[in-house]
C-alpha cells in the first residue's frame, strides 16, 4: 500500500438538503483541490446557493459529509466557517465606503494596542494593510476612504480581507458581474497567483466564458443534482455547460417568432446626448420589434433606457414616441405616451413587498379605472383586468388578492412587475435586465410573454447582460460602448464574437 494520499482541501460527499418536502440537494459529491480553481455552475434554483450556504455555515445540512483537509467540517455560523479558513466573498460586496481601506480590511479583528482595551493600534493596522494590499496588487493608501475605490478595486479589497490569516478556501460568488474588462483581467491574474499559493478557489459564475477561462475543474448542478463533472475544463465548450445546466440547448428556450413587418416606428431617438453619460444616440424601434441593448456594465445601457423613459435628463436630442416628443426628465410624459419601464432593481424601485399581488398589479393602471365623477375607483372592472393579467403572465400564485408579494419567488415577483405594466397597455416596453436572478422556468415564461407582446404590436427595448438572451430574442441588437452606440446588428448578422468585440470597443469599422 502506498502512503496516504493527501486529502483534497475540501471534500463534499452525499450532501442532501430539503426545504419542507422539496429536496434542493440530492446527494452531491465534489472536491475542491488546493492550488486549483473549481467552478460551480448552474441556473438559479439549481442548488448552488444552498451548497454555498451549507459550506459557509448559514444552513445546516440534512445528510452527507464535508471535510476540510480531511477533518470533518460542519460550521454552525459564517464566523465558524471563516475562522476555519473558508473565506466567502459574496456577489454583493461588503465594503463600507465611509470607513478607511485599512478599517475595512481589519473590520472584524482590528489590531489593538492593548489586548483587553478597545483601542486600535493604528500603525500596526496600516503596516499590515500594506502587506495585504500588496498581495492583490492594490497600490492605494490604506488611510484613504474605501468610497474612493472603483468596483474592481473594492473586489480586490475584499479578496485582500479574505486572505488574512490562514485562508484555505476562497469562494467567489459572481465576482465579475460589475467589473470592467480591464478589472476582470486584473482579478484573474490575482486568482492565478492564489492558485500558486495553494489556495483552493471555488468560483461561482453565470458567465460561462469566464468559467471556462479560469477553471481547472467544473461542476454543474441542475435541480440539486450534479449533471456535469469535469477535471479538464479547458476542453469544454459553453455549449456543453449550457446543456448540463438547462438540460436542453439554448435555442429551445426561446419561442419562435415571425419577424415583424416594417411599419413606422413607435420610438425614435434622435441625437440623444447628456454630457458625460450619453453621446449622439440615434435609433428607432418599430411596432412588434424586439431591440436589444448590449454592452458592458457601465457602457451606458441602463442610462439610455432610463433617459428614454424620463428618469434621467438629457441635454440634447429628442425622444419621440408615436410622433410625440417627450420632455427631458419627465416620467409623466413617458407614461402618457404609454411607455412602460421595468427597472433593473425590482425590489427597490418596483414592488411594494408587503402589499398583495392584486394591489401591486393594479398600481400603474389604477387611474384608468377611476371613471366615476369623484375619481373613485370602479372596482369590478379593475379586479377583472387584474385577474386577466395575472393569467397572462402565468403567475403561479394561489391567491392574488391575499398573497403578499414578499412571499413570491423572484421569478413570480418579476412577473408581477411586468404584469402591472401590461395593465396600462403599453406601446413601448423598456425592460432593464428583465431576467436577472430568475430561474430557468420563469425565464421561459417571460420570453414567451415577450413574443406574445411583440405579436400584438408592442415595441420592446431590452437591456441585458446576457448575450444569449438577446441573441435568442431580438430582431436587432444595438451594442453600446462608452455612452455611444458602437454597432448595430440585424438578426441575420448576429454573431457572438462580433458583438463582444463591439462591446469591448474593437468595432470592425474602427
Amino acid at each position: 500500500m502506498s502512503a496516504d494520499p493527501i486529502p483534497p482541501r475540501l471534500s463534499v460527499r452525499g450532501l442532501t438538503k430539503s426545504f419542507g418536502s422539496t429536496r434542493v440537494l440530492q446527494g452531491i459529491d465534489f472536491d475542491a483541490v488546493a492550488g486549483r480553481v473549481l467552478a460551480l455552475a448552474g441556473e438559479n434554483g439549481s442548488g448552488k446557493s444552498t451548497t454555498l450556504n451549507i459550506l459557509t455555515g448559514v444552513l445546516p445540512r440534512d445528510q452527507g459529509e464535508v471535510r476540510l483537509d480531511g477533518q470533518p467540517f460542519y460550521p454552525r455560523t459564517p464566523r465558524d466557517s471563516s475562522f476555519a479558513g473558508l473565506r466567502y466573498i459574496q456577489q454583493e460586496l461588503n465594503i463600507f465606503p465611509n470607513l478607511s481601506i485599512a478599517e475595512n480590511l481589519f473590520l472584524v479583528e482590528l489590531p489593538r494596542a492593548v489586548r483587553s482595551l478597545p483601542f486600535i493600534a493604528r500603525r500596526r493596522m496600516h503596516e499590515r494593510s500594506q502587506v495585504l494590499l500588496e498581495q492583490v496588487d492594490l497600490t492605494v493608501d490604506p488611510h484613504a476612504s474605501a468610497g474612493t475605490l472603483s468596483m474592481g478595486e473594492r473586489q480586490l479589497l475584499e479578496i485582500a480581507r479574505a486572505l488574512q490569516g490562514d485562508a484555505r478556501v476562497l469562494i467567489l460568488d459572481e465576482p465579475t458581474t460589475s467589473l470592467t474588462e480591464h478589472e476582470i483581467r486584473r482579478l484573474f491574474a490575482i486568482i492565478d497567483r492564489l492558485r500558486a499559493r495553494d489556495v483552493a478557489v471555488l468560483f461561482v459564475s453565470h458567465n460561462l466564458e469566464h468559467v471556462l477561462e479560469l477553471a481547472d475543474d467544473v461542476v454543474v448542478l441542475r435541480d440539486g443534482e450534479i449533471t456535469l463533472k469535469n477535471h479538464d475544463a479547458k476542453r469544454l465548450t459553453t455549449h456543453d455547460l449550457v446543456l448540463a445546466m438547462v438540460g436542453h440547448s439554448i435555442e429551445a428556450q426561446f419561442p419562435s417568432r415571425v419577424p415583424p413587418k416594417s411599419r413606422p416606428p413607435v420610438l425614435q431617438v434622435i441625437g440623444l446626448s447628456e454630457p458625460g453619460v450619453l453621446e449622439g444616440i440615434d435609433f428607432s424601434v418599430a411596432p412588434g420589434e424586439i431591440v436589444g441593448l448590449a454592452g458592458l456594465m457601465g457602457s451606458g445601457r441602463s442610462e439610455l433606457a432610463r433617459t428614454i423613459f424620463g428618469l434621467e435628463p438629457h441635454r440634447q436630442g429628442e425622444v419621440i414616441v408615436e410622433g410625440r416628443r417627450l420632455r427631458s426628465g419627465d416620467v409623466r410624459a413617458g407614461l402618457a405616451a404609454r411607455v412602460a419601464f421595468l427597472t433593473e432593481d425590482r425590489r427597490r424601485d418596483g414592488l411594494f413587498l408587503d402589499a398583495t399581488v392584486a394591489d401591486n398589479l393594479a398600481l400603474v393602471a389604477i387611474s384608468g379605472f377611476a371613471t366615476t365623477p369623484l375619481g373613485c375607483i370602479n372596482r369590478v372592472p379593475l379586479a377583472a383586468a387584474v385577474a386577466t393579467v395575472g393569467r397572462r403572465v402565468k403567475l403561479n400564485s394561489a391567491n392574488v388578492d391575499t398573497t403578499p408579494v414578499r412571499r413570491l419567488s423572484g421569478g413570480n415577483q418579476q412577473k408581477v412587475v411586468i404584469g402591472r405594466w401590461l395593465l396600462s397597455q403599453p406601446k413601448l416596453f423598456i425592460l432593464d435586465e428583465p431576467t436577472r436572478g430568475i430561474d430557468a422556468g420563469a425565464k421561459e415564461d417571460i420570453y414567451r410573454l415577450f413574443a406574445g407582446l411583440s405579436a400584438a404590436g408592442v415595441a420592446l427595448l431590452i437591456v441585458s447582460s446576457e448575450l444569449e438572451e438577446l441573441l435568442g430574442l431580438c430582431d436587432r441588437i444595438l451594442v453600446m460602448h462608452r455612452g455611444r452606440i458602437a454597432t448595430s446588428f440585424a438578426r441575420s448578422e448576429f454573431e457572438r464574437s462580433a458583438i463582444l468585440r463591439a462591446a469591448f470597443g474593437q468595432a470592425e469599422s474602427a
Binding site: 463600507f96 465611509n98 473590520l107 486600535i120 454630457p275
Partner: protein, 325 residues
Amino acid sequence: MSGLSSPKTAKALLRGAPLVLVALVWLGFGSAARPFLTLATLTDILVQSSWLTVLALGMSFVLLTGGVDLSVGSAMYLAAVTVGMEPAATPVGLGIATALAVGALLGACNGWFITRLKLPAFVVTLSTLFIARGLGLLLSSTRIVYPSPAVAQLGRTTVLGVLAPAWIALIAIGCAWGIQNRTSFGIYVRAIGADAEGARRAGVPVPAVTWGVYIFCGALAGLASLILLSETAAASSAYGQNAEFLAIAAAVLGGTSLFGGRGTLSAPIMGAILITSVQNGLAMVNANPYVYPVITGAIIFIAAVIDSGRLTLMKRLERRRILAG
C-alpha cells in the same frame, strides 16, 4: 468658467453648508443688533451651547445607527433630580459621576429593549421619555431641586480663561472623536451606519454595538444635564423638556441623516451652535419670547430644505460618468 460651475468648488461649498449657515445667522443678527458680533457674545454663545452640543453628540451616534433616542430630555431631568438629592457637601466629581451613571443606566434600559426585545427605538424611547420624567417627578415631589454648591459653582469656574462648561464639552467632543476614530466600537458604529446588514454579515456584533450606542447617548444626556444644572443652579419639573427635539434638530441641522448612515462629528457641534446663536440673537433683538419657537422651527425647516437640496445636488455631481472628460 465661474467658480460655482466647477464640481469641486460646488462640492466643497455644499459640504460646508452648515458653517455657511452659522455665518449667515451671525451676520444677520450682527447687523440687527450691534453687540451681537462681539467676541464676548460669541464666546457666550459657545459656552451656552455646551450642554446642547454634548446632548446632540450622543444623539448623533444614535441617529448614525438609524435609531433615535426620544428619552434624553427626561434623562436630563432624572439625572438633575438625582444630583439634587445628594447632600450639600457633594463634590463636583461625585455630581458628574452620578449624572453620567443615571443617564447611562437609562440608556442601558433603552438599549436592552431595542436590541434584545427588538422593539423599535422610537417606541421604546417614547415610553422611557414618560417613565423617566415620571420617576423624576416622584423623587422630587415636583419641587424644584438644587445641586450642591460645589456643582453650582462649576458653571462659574474658569480654567485658563474659559468657563468649565465649555471645557467639559470640549472633553466630550475629544472623547467622542477618539471613540469614533480610534476604537473598534467607533468603527463598528460607522460600519453599522453605512450598512447594518452588511456589518452583521462581516461579523460586526451589531446588537452589542447598538446597545453601547444607547448607553453612550444616555451617559452624554446625564453629562449635558449636569452642565446645564451647573449653569442654572436649579431644576424645575420642566427641566430638559423638549431637549430631545433640540438635540435631534442640532444633529440634523449639521447634516446628520435622520435615516441613519450619514453624519460627522462636526454636525451636532455646528447644529448646537446654530440653535444657540439663534436663541441668543433673538434675545438680543428683544424679540417676543413666544416668537422663539416659531423662528427656531423655521430655521430648522430651512436647514432641512437646504440639506435635502444639498443631497440631490451632491448625488448629481457624483453621478457616474461614462464618457471621458
